[in-house]
């Protein structure tokens, strides 16, 4: 079981979290072209290596957390609050 170092609760089992996918800033809908918008909706980098993604600590602090994880080893090297420190 992957251990995610929740910035609020400390290390917790990944099963307490919901994976919300790769971290992708939402394009400005007013300026994004339809192609850019659909790329945001559907395309993913899907790297085999380090990736930045968002997890939600559903059974814990109920905070969104930005996590850096290696997709081959599942090693987690960093976890910070998703919207920055509040």
């Amino acid at each position: 079981m992957i251990l995610i170092p929740c910035p609020h609760c400390g290390p917790r089992n990944a099963s307490e979290f919901a994976w919300k996918g790769e971290h992708r800033p939402r394009p400005d809908p007013a300026r994004a072209s339809p192609a850019e918008w659909r790329s945001y909706l559907y395309h993913r980098a899907n790297p085999c290596g380090w990736t930045t993604e968002v997890w939600f600590h559903r059974a814990g602090c109920r905070r969104y957390v930005t996590v850096e994880r290696h997709t081959l080893t599942n090693e987690v090297r960093r976890a910070v609050p998703a919207g920055g420190e509040r």
């Binding site: 609760c9 917790r12 307490e16 559903r58 059974a59 814990g60 602090c61 109920r62 905070r63 509040r86």
Partner: protein, 212 residues
């Protein structure tokens, strides 16, 4: 014009008999003699406070996420989340506690919600209580990691549950706190898990009568 009624409040957990009505609540008056017991203390007032880090109220509550403290008046202040506190006080004190926070809120954005009726609150006490919880909860309950007055939320039997270690007279004791509709489920699971250590249900006059 409606006639006057005296409403009866009930917990989510079916009270083990015998029962009586106290302060408008139907409660169990059963007394257990086992060293490991489980009590439904849902009638206690529960008030959720949320405040941004800079808010004055955060400083006044005096405890951070992950810890709890017992105030001189007996109210338990639990740091239940980042920027979140749960105040546990005597039955019927919810609006008092809420009002207090409103008065003391000071600068910054803060809010108060009465969760008395939204949560089930159980107390599990006894030297083997951590072993019962170790069957259900992935968090390390050893003294080193989870000393007295630690507070966390995690899974208990696949149910998101707030756990506060609140020892009674030196005896291991945990307050367990979940959404009300699953209160009976959590209670039943604890009774099953504690069977190998002789767990017994108890009512309001057993040791938890000291609860304020």
């Amino acid at each position: 014009m409606p006639e006057a009624l005296s409403p009866l409040a009930r917990s989510a957990v079916r009270p083990p008999g015998p029962t009586q009505v106290m302060g408008g609540w139907e409660v169990s008056t059963r007394v257990s003699t086992s060293s490991l017991w489980l009590a439904d203390v849902s009638p206690l007032a529960k008030v959720l406070v949320r405040a941004e880090p800079g808010a004055g109220v955060a400083a006044r509550l005096g405890v951070g996420h992950g810890r709890a403290r017992r105030r001189a008046d007996g109210v338990l202040v639990v740091g239940s989340g980042p920027g979140e506190w749960l105040l546990v006080g005597p039955p019927g004190s919810a609006s008092l506690l809420a009002g207090e926070v409103e008065v003391e809120r000071g600068e910054g954005f803060a809010s108060v919600v009465d969760l008395t009726h939204g949560r089930a609150l159980l107390r599990l006490t006894g030297p083997t209580a951590p072993m019962v919880l170790a069957k259900l909860c992935p968090v390390d309950l050893s003294d080193r990691v989870s000393p007295n007055l630690v507070a966390f939320r995690s899974f208990l039997a696949n149910l998101a549950t707030d756990v506060v270690r609140d020892d009674l007279d030196g005896s291991r004791s945990y307050l367990l706190h979940c959404e009300r509709p699953s209160g009976q489920y959590l209670y039943d699971v604890l009774i099953d898990a504690g069977a190998e250590w002789g767990i017994e249900p108890t009512g309001v006059f057993a040791p938890p009568a000291k609860e304020t």
